[in-house]
């Protein structure tokens, strides 16, 4: 058992625990914080996988911007938790069992189809150098230039949409 594997297993446990905590917390604020923990853990995974740029994006965009947005909304609405509901009594047991089956199925599929030599390599120092980043930038702005621009338009549209949605009444009043 190598050190990488140990790190991986520990982090995996943290990630799964954080995910479960997010799902099962009664309080939405706790859920959000658990998710931040999960995202941070995943960012470490990215570093382990030799993707420092994505790791940083993960932390700034996901753990930072998006989750702050979530917390804002949670606190803005003030709906930390909902009263227990009697509707759909079979939902929870069914969901648990389906989730269990899904995990078993996917794990089985992956293991049964696994091939030897499919390993991730540990990042060396070169991965974190500027060359790596430059190369990625070259790929993004050459091969994926059009999707990049489309994404920018998508973000713009999302922004406009969010403003229009929340500002509807004011516009109507004018």
């Amino acid at each position: 058992m190598t050190s990488e594997l140990i790190v991986f297993l520990v982090l995996s446990l943290v990630a799964i625990a954080a995910a479960l905590g997010m799902v099962f917390s009664r309080n939405a604020v706790y859920s959000a914080l658990f998710l931040v923990l999960n995202f941070t853990t995943v960012a470490v995974f990215y570093l382990l996988l030799g993707a420092p740029f994505i790791a940083m994006s993960q932390i700034t965009v996901y753990a930072g911007a998006i989750m702050v947005l979530f917390l804002f909304v949670i606190m803005l609405l003030g709906v930390d938790s909902l009263a227990p509901s009697k509707s759909l009594p079979w939902q929870k047991p069914l969901a648990f069992s389906l989730a269990f089956i899904l995990v078993v199925e996917s794990v089985y599929l992956l293991i049964s189809r696994a091939q030897p030599n499919m390993v991730v390599t540990a990042p060396d120092i070169a991965v974190n150098s500027m060359d790596n980043l430059r190369e990625m930038a070259m790929t993004m702005f050459n091969q994926f230039l059009l999707p990049f621009e489309v994404t920018s338009v998508l973000l713009l549209v999302a922004m406009v949409g969010a403003i229009v949605l929340t500002n509807r009444e004011k516009v109507g009043r004018k």
Binding site: E4, Y46, L76, L82, L110, A114, E135, A162
Partner: protein, 100 residues
């Protein structure tokens, strides 16, 4: 040397937990977070494969997914705020006007 399978299994587990969260929670904010979790699980798999194939394409995909997720969250949260303003409640079980 961690086998790539491990990452994929972790991704699958995280994904399933996210899906379960969508199924059992009634708070749309939590459901949203669960969806983000599922996206993350997918991202993890992407990066793992990117590493395995020594290609940047996976990472660039993740980058796009993050951008799209950010857009989605912006619109989704705006919707939730709007729904709350209208219904004074965000219980997803009460949004059942499409009942057959």
């Amino acid at each position: 040397m961690v086998p790539v399978d491990y990452y994929i299994i972790l991704s699958a587990i995280l994904f399933t937990i996210g899906a379960m969260g969508v199924l059992i929670r009634r708070n749309p904010l939590i459901i949203f977070m669960s969806i983000e979790l599922m996206l993350n699980a997918g991202n993890l798999a992407f990066v793992a494969f990117s590493n395995m194939y020594k290609s940047f394409n996976g990472q660039i995909f993740v980058f796009f997914v993050i951008a799209v997720a950010a857009a989605e969250v912006a619109v989704g949260l705006a919707l939730i705020v709007e729904i709350f303003k209208t219904k004074k409640n965000i219980n997803i079980d009460e949004m059942n006007s499409l009942k057959g």
